[in-house]
C-alpha cells in the first residue's frame, strides 16, 4: 500500500496509520501507544504523519459567498395525498376506520336478512302431551301435509292437462284450416285443368 510500508521492520504500518487517524479499536490503542514508544521507525512515522496533517490543516475553510436557502414552493412540496400516504399513523387510523365501517355495514346487513323466528316452547308443549297424543298429532300433521300436497299436485296436473288440451285443440283447428285450403286449391286446379286453361300441359 505504502512505499514506506516496506521500510517498517515491525510490519505495523497499517495499524500505525489507523492509530494516527483515531480509527484503531479501543483495545488496540494502548498497545499501539506502547509500541510507538518502543519502536523508533513507528515513532518517526507517527511524527511525520502528525506534522503533515497539521500542515494540511493550515488551509482554512472558506466562507460560503452566498447562503443557500429554500422557499416553500408547490413544485417541491409533497402533495396532500403523498403526505397522507407517508404518514403511517394517519394511514393506520384510516385503515381502522375502514375496517370499523365494514364491520358496521356487515352487522347491519346480517340483521336485515336474518330474522330468527321466536323459539317454540317445544319442551313445554311436549311436556303437556302424552306420547300417544304426540304420535296422533304427528300423524294428523303428516296426513294434512300429504292431503295438501295431493291437492296441489292435482291442481297442477289439472292445469297442465287443461293447457295441453287447449293446445291440442288449437293445433287441430289449424290443421283443419290448412287441409281446407289445400282441398280448395286442388279443386280449383282441377276445374281449370278441365277448362283447358293450360294448353301446354297436354303435350
Amino acid at each position: 500500500m505504502l512505499s514506506s510500508k516496506n521500510s517498517f521492520p515491525c510490519g505495523r504500518a497499517d495499524a500505525l496509520h489507523d492509530f494516527a487517524f483515531d480509527e484503531l479499536p479501543a483495545n488496540e490503542r494502548q498497545e499501539m501507544e506502547q509500541h510507538i514508544r518502543a519502536c523508533g521507525d513507528c515513532a518517526l512515522e507517527f511524527d511525520r504523519l502528525r506534522i503533515t496533517t497539521s500542515a494540511l490543516r493550515i488551509l482554512p475553510d472558506r466562507e460560503i459567498p452566498q447562503r443557500i436557502a429554500f422557499v416553500s414552493d408547490e413544485v417541491f412540496q409533497p402533495s396532500i395525498w403523498a403526505r397522507f400516504w407517508n404518514s403511517g399513523a394517519q394511514l393506520g387510523f384510516a385503515s381502522a376506520c375502514v375496517l370499523a365501517v365494514a364491520l358496521l355495514v356487515s352487522a347491519w346487513r346480517m340483521s336485515v336478512v336474518y330474522h330468527p323466528s321466536p323459539a317454540q316452547p317445544v319442551a313445554h308443549v311436549a311436556a303437556s302431551m302424552s306420547p300417544e297424543q304426540i304420535q296422533a298429532s304427528i300423524a294428523r300433521a303428516v296426513a294434512q301435509t300429504r292431503a295438501e300436497d295431493a291437492k296441489v299436485i292435482q291442481t297442477a296436473v289439472a292445469g297442465v292437462e287443461k293447457r295441453l288440451d287447449a293446445q291440442y285443440r288449437g293445433q287441430m283447428v289449424a290443421l283443419q284450416e290448412n287441409f281446407d285450403v289445400m282441398r280448395k286449391t286442388a279443386l280449383n286446379y282441377e276445374a281449370r285443368l278441365g277448362a283447358n286453361e293450360f294448353p301446354g300441359a297436354g303435350q
Binding site: M1, D61, P65, R67, F70, N86
Partner: protein, 186 residues
C-alpha cells in the same frame, strides 16, 4: 422542562413532512462544509457554489429515500461527490484545476510559502487521492463513511489516503524543515 439540541434526525423527519424551514436549518448546518469540500475538489469558487446549491436541492428532493437519518452526512457528501464528478466528466480534465491558484489564497496567520506549498502539494495529488485526504483530514469522516461516500471498499479508501499522505510527506518536508530553520513565520 428538559431542553435538548435539535438533532439532524429531528430536522430530517420534519423535512419529510414538508417543513421547508427545517430544511433551511439543516442546510445552514452543512452548507459551509459541503461548499469547502467541493471547493477543494474543483478549486473553483463559482463551481463550488453552484454545485453546493445543486447538492442541497437534490438532497431535498430525495431525502425521503434516506434510509438511516443518522447517516445524513455521508449521504449528503455522496451526492456532492457525484455532482462534482459529473462536472469533471462534462469538462476536459485539464480545465478542472485551471483556476486553482486564483482561488486558493494563503491562510491568514501562516507563512505564505507554507500555505502555497500545502496547496500545491494537494494539487499534485490525483483527484481520488486528494478527495481521500479532504474527506479524512478536513472533513473528519471515518473510513466506513468515506467508503460510502466514494462508493468503494474501505481498503481502497485507505490505500488512496496513505499513498496520498506518503506523497504529501515528501512534498511538505522541505517546507517544514525550512520553517523550522526560520522559526515561526507569523
Amino acid at each position: 422542562m428538559i431542553f435538548r439540541a435539535v438533532e439532524d434526525t429531528d430536522l430530517i423527519s420534519r423535512v419529510c413532512r414538508g417543513d421547508v424551514e427545517a430544511y433551511n436549518l439543516l442546510v445552514s448546518r452543512w452548507e459551509k462544509r459541503v461548499f469547502n469540500y467541493i471547493l477543494r475538489l474543483t478549486a473553483n469558487q463559482e463551481d463550488a457554489l453552484d454545485l453546493s446549491q445543486d447538492v442541497f436541492l437534490k438532497a431535498y428532493q430525495n431525502i425521503r429515500k434516506l434510509d438511516d437519518p443518522a447517516r445524513f452526512g455521508p449521504w449528503l457528501y455522496r451526492i456532492a461527490h457525484n455532482e462534482a464528478y459529473s462536472l469533471f466528466r462534462k469538462r476536459r480534465p485539464e480545465t478542472v484545476l485551471e483556476d486553482l491558484d486564483a482561488d486558493r489564497n494563503p491562510a491568514p496567520g501562516f507563512s505564505v510559502d507554507l500555505s502555497l506549498a500545502v496547496a500545491a502539494a494537494l494539487d499534485r495529488l490525483n483527484p481520488e487521492q486528494r478527495e481521500a485526504v479532504v474527506l479524512k483530514v478536513y472533513e473528519g469522516f471515518k473510513f466506513d463513511e468515506m467508503a460510502e461516500i466514494l462508493g468503494c471498499p474501505v481498503s481502497t479508501v485507505k490505500s488512496r489516503l496513505y499513498t496520498a499522505l506518503d506523497l504529501l510527506k515528501r512534498d511538505l518536508a522541505p517546507v517544514d524543515s525550512k520553517r523550522s530553520h526560520r522559526g515561526p513565520a507569523c
